[in-house]
């Protein structure tokens, strides 16, 4: 491994220069594909831009976020994103979706990873098979599940009716009571393999001999899991949870396809998309996107900070 590069020596300067050259293409692409649109979106969120009039947008300050309309008689009304009940409902939906889906996916992923980590015949085949849901494009799996959950022709209702679990067909994706459940089922089905894969990678890094040492120490298997396996794979689980949580916070396609226009499942991304392209409130949608970005950025910083502290505390 190369040692630390000193910027004061000629060789060090050359190596730093070379590093920048190698990084340059990536930085250019990143700036063009991520940096520019991000800045542009943040800019639009402070204007009155509409889809028809992007170039003629006028600066309006924070009006898209918050505006107090004074009626002159001591009363008034708040407008803007921060006063929009539908926005806060979307925030609530997103957080709820993220918490539940990531929790379930972590638990199921952990169980599957533990099973896949054991030695058994045909393990390679099972490992490949488990990944299938994850390999299917979200649009396809959402459509597929939409049919399975169809209130009249869906196989889910048919099975539940035959088993006597329900007495009447349920409109899984349309009913306010079950829409979120439907979305969660599909998301857990689809993304658990990803969690399992990441956790499995962590499990495979745990040296096998310490399990033998634990056997000699006479440690009960349950204790082995909680006292040895879990602490050792926690970094892997943490990474997987962060990845998944970030993904879940910006969930869009699944909900857009499976439960469109449903107040119970409208997430922040869906809210932004609706305003941007369907309601012709481009600036308002930009403001929503910007807030979503801020929320996710804060979450990343918080998670990493907490994760570090935790790791040092117990590691």
């Amino acid at each position: 491994m190369a040692g630390p590069v000193s910027p004061h020596s000629e060789l060090g300067r050359q190596r730093i220069l070379a590093a920048w050259w190698f990084l340059a293409p990536m930085l250019v692409v990143l700036a063009a594909a991520a940096g520019w649109p991000l800045l542009k979106t943040i800019y639009f969120s402070f204007t009155d831009a509409t889809l028809n009039n992007l170039s003629g947008a006028q600066w309006v300050g924070i009006l898209n976020y918050y505006e107090w309309l004074d009626y002159g008689d001591g009363t008034g009304e708040a407008f803007g994103l921060l006063a929009d009940e539908q926005w806060w409902a979307a925030v609530y939906n997103t957080v709820r979706f993220t918490l539940i889906s990531v929790t379930l996916e972590t638990l199921f992923g952990l169980v599957i990873a533990l099973v896949l980590n054991a030695e058994f015949k045909g393990r390679g085949l099972v490992r490949a098979a488990v990944l299938v849901p994850w390999a299917i494009p979200t649009i396809v799996s959402a459509k597929m599940w939409a049919w399975m959950m169809h209130d009249q022709f869906g196989i889910l209702n048919d099975m539940f009716l035959r088993l006597g679990l329900i007495s009447a067909p349920i409109a899984w994706t349309a009913s306010p009571d079950t829409a979120m459940v439907a979305v969660l089922i599909v998301d857990v089905w689809k993304t658990t393999p990803f969690m399992a894969l990441l956790i499995l990678a962590g499990l495979q890094l745990v040296p096998g001999d310490i399990y033998e040492a634990a056997k000699i120490d006479g440690v009960h298997p349950v204790k082995v899991f909680f006292k040895i396996t879990l602490p050792l794979i926690r970094p892997a689980i943490l990474v997987a949870v962060i990845f998944r949580a970030l993904d879940a916070m910006r969930v869009f396609d699944l909900i857009y396809v499976l439960t469109p226009n449903n107040d119970r499942t409208r997430t922040m991304s869906v809210f932004a998309q609706e305003n941007l392209f369907q309601f012709d409130k481009f600036a308002y949608g930009s403001a929503a996107s910007t807030l979503l970005f801020v929320v996710i950025a804060l979450m990343v910083i918080l998670t990493i900070k907490l994760g570090r502290m935790d790791l040092e505390g117990n590691g």
């Binding site: 040296p207 310490i210 033998e212 040492a213 000699i216 006479g218 440690v219 050792l232 590691g315």
Partner: protein
């Protein structure tokens, strides 16, 4: 504190047999070393004793109790692994205390035992550290400490020194010898492929090859009276010179003529009926010395290795393998030089056509 009795112990993975009927009795307090080349089954045998692998045939008794079906933690054993196998997320103290803590040992007793073991191994100042903050030698001492704390009847070592560098290996070897002295009632079983470790540590060595025991004996027995060609070649460095030979006359001593060498008397008990039969002649490099006369063998020196205290001479005696002689460190020997070497009758070995040693008459008694 415990004696072990292995009766016809066998192990197979599916149709692959890795151990073929091992019979072995280990006395209480003995230091036994399993030695052999890679894949000989020595580690497997240790793991069978530990209970980390199932015995597929025969019985294993500890203190007269058959323990085939007993889990490792109930056998009264402790094991030190080649890779240390420390719990990476626990401090040295917790590593040593973990097993006992779960066994509901009282806090004071636990603390006393951990600290006593740490004291003995001089790792007290590291008790609060994590394994990754320790050097290889320190980690191995922690692993040994974890085993001591269990107060085992049988101490198992699986190649504990092979991950250490050369200097540390010698130092730790000496520490293990001291440990055995201090814990002289504890039976110790030690696996290694390093014959120096085997020779220096063992009360008795078990030489394994191809899943079978080749010979069991004290280090000196194995050195002076190897039962067969395998043990003769395996113990000693450089290995014993092996040369095809013919028995010229049986008796005590017998007369043997090695290929490309002079007939020579060997202090071994060879039946008269063996006269004329094919045999194998063996002589250790360190038993050869230069001579002015015709000697036992003569030839040109192919290569000279000067190691300081000794000189290794590789002598071309017209065989595929050169004859190796370990000569005095001051020997002025040049490549291409002609040399004759000889050895005393009581230093020679002779094996029958199946590689079984003819019993040596004088050296064997000395051992």
């Amino acid at each position: 504190m415990a004696n072990l009795k292995l009766t016809n112990v066998a192990k197979s993975y599916g149709s692959v047999k890795v151990l073929h009927g091992i019979d072995l009795t280990i006395r209480s307090g003995e230091f036994i070393v399993f030695v052999g080349p890679s894949g000989c089954g020595k580690s497997t045998l240790l793991r069978l004793i530990a209970g980390l692998e199932d015995i597929t045939g025969g019985t294993l008794e500890i203190d007269g109790q058959v323990v085939n079906a007993l889990p490792p933690s109930k056998r009264g054993i402790a094991m030190v692994f080649q890779s240390y196998a420390l719990y990476p997320h626990m401090t040295v103290y917790d590593n040593m205390a973990f097993g006992l803590k779960l066994a509901n040992t009282s806090k004071e007793d636990l603390d006393k035992r951990v600290r006593a073991a740490a004291e003995m191994l001089q790792i007290t100042q590291y008790l609060d550290r994590l394994p990754k903050q320790l050097s290889g030698g320190q980690r191995q001492r922690v692993a040994i400490g974890r085993a001591i704390v269990r107060d085992p009847k049988v101490f198992l070592f699986d190649e504990p020194l092979s991950n250490l560098d050369a200097a540390l290996r010698v130092a730790t070897r000496i520490e293990i010898a001291k440990l055995h002295e201090r814990m002289h009632q504890t039976t110790m079983i030690y696996v290694t492929h390093d014959q120096v470790e085997a020779m220096t540590l063992a009360d008795r060595i078990v030489v394994l090859n191809g899943g079978k025991i080749e010979q069991v004996g004290s280090p000196m027995e194995l050195y002076h009276a190897p039962d067969n060609l395998f043990v003769a070649r395996f113990i000693g460095s450089p290995a014993m010179n092996i040369i095809p030979a013919k028995i010229e006359a049986g008796g005590m001593p017998a007369t043997v003529r090695p290929l490309n060498g002079q007939p020579v008397q060997v202090d071994a008990n060879v039946p008269a009926s063996a006269a004329g039969s094919a045999a194998t002649f063996g002589v250790r490099p360190e038993d050869l010395r230069p001579t002015d006369g015709p000697g036992l063998f003569s030839g040109n020196v192919l290569l000279v290795e000067k190691l300081g205290e000794v000189v290794l001479a590789y002598i071309d005696i017209g065989m595929e393998e050169p004859l190796i002689a370990k000569l005095d460190g001051d020997s002025q020997l040049e490549r291409g030089q002609h040399i004759s070497v000889t050895a005393d009758a009581d230093r020679l070995h002779v094996f029958d056509g199946n590689g079984k040693a003819y019993v040596r008459t004088r050296r064997a008694l000395a051992a």
